[in-house]
């Protein structure tokens, strides 16, 4: 974690100090900022928001959005929603797994990519979809996937 990030996290925690009802808000904001939730940060959240640490851990481990381990520089997401599935998402996913050497939820040793799957992102009309760092690549084929991934170092 760099200094900037550290400061932003402090800001988020301060904003919700004494507001147990805002636990999810605080965690979501920290996740967005830092892309994962270090244990030490969760302890500080518990203390500031006056909720038991166990509750913070429960929320953080329950929801898929939260990551308890650091992520790669780029988040690669393959939509596995129903339409993408009907239109060939399984083949796309297999190709992306092969290219990255990762399975769902994993991060490579160089921390280049984290691979994720999920349904449904609501751009069904242009499925199958590959999403990298929030940018959507519609009508994706296994062949084109390599090109897309090569753009990310």
């Amino acid at each position: 974690m760099n200094m900037m990030c550290e400061q932003k996290i402090d800001g988020i925690i301060e904003k919700y100090r004494g507001q147990p009802g805002s636990l999810i808000h605080a965690l979501v904001e920290i996740q967005h900022e830092n892309r994962w939730l270090p244990r030490e940060v969760m302890h500080r959240v518990a203390e500031a928001l006056e909720v038991p640490f166990a509750q913070v851990l429960q929320i953080a481990s329950f929801y898929k959005t939260f990551s308890l381990t650091p992520k790669g520089r780029h988040e690669v997401h393959v939509c596995t929603g129903m339409t993408c599935h009907l239109r060939g998402a399984a083949k796309l996913l297999a190709k992306v797994e092969e290219l990255t050497g990762l399975k769902d939820g994993e991060t490579d040793a160089q921390a280049r990519f984290t691979l994720e799957t999920g349904a449904c992102l609501g751009s069904c009309s242009i499925g199958p979809e590959l999403i990298v760092d929030g940018r959507h690549y519609g009508r994706m084929t296994p062949d084109k996937a390599e090109d897309v991934l090569n753009r990310y170092e």
Binding site: P20, G21, S22, L23, I24, H25, V28, Q55, Q58, I59, F62, Y63, K64, T65, F66, G81, M82, T83, H85, L86, R87, G118, A119, C120, L121, G122, S123, C124, S125, I126, G127, E129, G134, H136, Y137, G138
Partner: protein
Amino acid sequence: MARLHSAAELEALRAEILAGRDSGKPCIAVCAGAACDGMDSAAVAAAFLAEAGKQNLGDRLEVRTTGCHGYCEKGPNVVVSPGEICYFEVSPADVPEIVAATLKGEVVERLVYRDPVSGAKAVHMNEVPFYKHQMRLLIGDNPKIDPMKIDDYLAVGGYAALVKALSSMTPEQVLDEVKKANLRGRGGGGFPAGSKWETTRNAPEKIKYVIVNGHEGESAAFMDRAMLTGNPHKVLEGLIIGAYAIGAQKGFMYTRHDMPLLEKHVRNALAQAKEYGLLGENILGSGFDFEVELHFDVGIFVSGESSALMRSIEGNAPEPRPKYIRTSVSGIWDKPSNLNNVETWANVPQIISRGAAWFTSIGSEKSRGTKLISLSGNVVNSGVVEVPMGTPLRTLVHDIGGGVRDGKTLKAIHFGGAMGGSIPAALIDAPLEFDGMSKLGAPIGAGGLLLMDEDTDMVEVARYLLDFLTKESCGKCAPCREGMKQMLQLLTGLTEGRGKAGDLERLQDLMEVTGLSSLCALGKTSPDPLKSMFRYFRPEFEAHIPGNAAGGSGDTK
């Protein structure tokens, strides 16, 4: 922006906005909805702005970025008014030509719709087959509105229903109108909104809440976000009117965390409504106070279920609770809380401004009004569709959807995602209706409609849907957690060629037990897709059992 203190001030502002607009001035609306965005419509919008800037066209041409127009399949979509000229699959390179033609009042013929069979052209929105069979009461304003500008919403008559409710109707009268309209919830259950509102209104507790369910977790459903991202004020106006009728002081919008544009538009809409005094204390001088808070789901399907959603707003893990305590009586922090779907709320303003009699003249007897449908799967034209309730599925599939892709034949129509069901193509003349579709085994759910072509392996689809739900179960109750897992194992066995005698009977038992004994609707309805497939496509399952005529191969594809 100045705070408005009365209905008259709002109407004066509306008149001023309209007077400042020249209806003859061409406007180019570029769709920035989820699908068009994925096809880089942002580059198209940027190219229009650059071209207008380069030619200094500020007062001769308007460029507007909007929410989803509907015809997502053919994005990036551009609509030019006046005339609602539709251009499809527009790229930045097409922009100078469109601008030049628009200034001359001409049409760029090569970018308009062409019938794939006859080659016939359709220029205007009301001639394009995808649009012309629809009734776009809710989504139709999307191309006319920049969702970041409340003035655009006012220009199309927005907040007139709120003015009418606050200045000339009592809360009881508003409630009465919604009851008479027989507005049924669009989130899945089809429960009458009026009676739910009344329950919350009559609950003894003084503090009450109203909530928008914008979670939209159903797979292949994207109409709620098209509505909320593209026209957030319509949903908000409905919510404020509902709060007035119910006597709620506070509202919550609960929506997706993973759509940055959705978040931006809703946040901005809330802030602008507040600045105009449409939220806050003493709204338009009526004495009615109302605030709205924005909340986000955190990426799990079950948090769209009413009690789980409310737990989540409280800041707790979204575990559902048994239904015998109704959330309309005891919801968020045990206060009476009325939850409705995005589309349900979006219907409220028109019911108030045009009346229940008008509303009940649309649709079928037990299902009134229109329904938003997310049309996708193996269909030619996917997108967000709005038709009167009671419309035959054939119209959706063929006239609007353009039939099945790649010249294949239709095998099944699936509704309602992982908690819905599939019916065979032979039932294509069934009307789109809550009760009728439930009886057939494919409840509308939130409105995700998928076409499946002849190559679809129904056993594999059943496995896929259960796999999805198994990952989404919150794990609180055993029947859901374990029942689904067992069903999934059996189905996986079938698809991998490990089917054995007795599997189908065991699946039948598991479906019944899981359906009967799970705590919330996720578990209760988890066997529904499989049930519908057993009902209509049983031979396909039998073919995976050794000893049956068709043999035990898992390979039907």
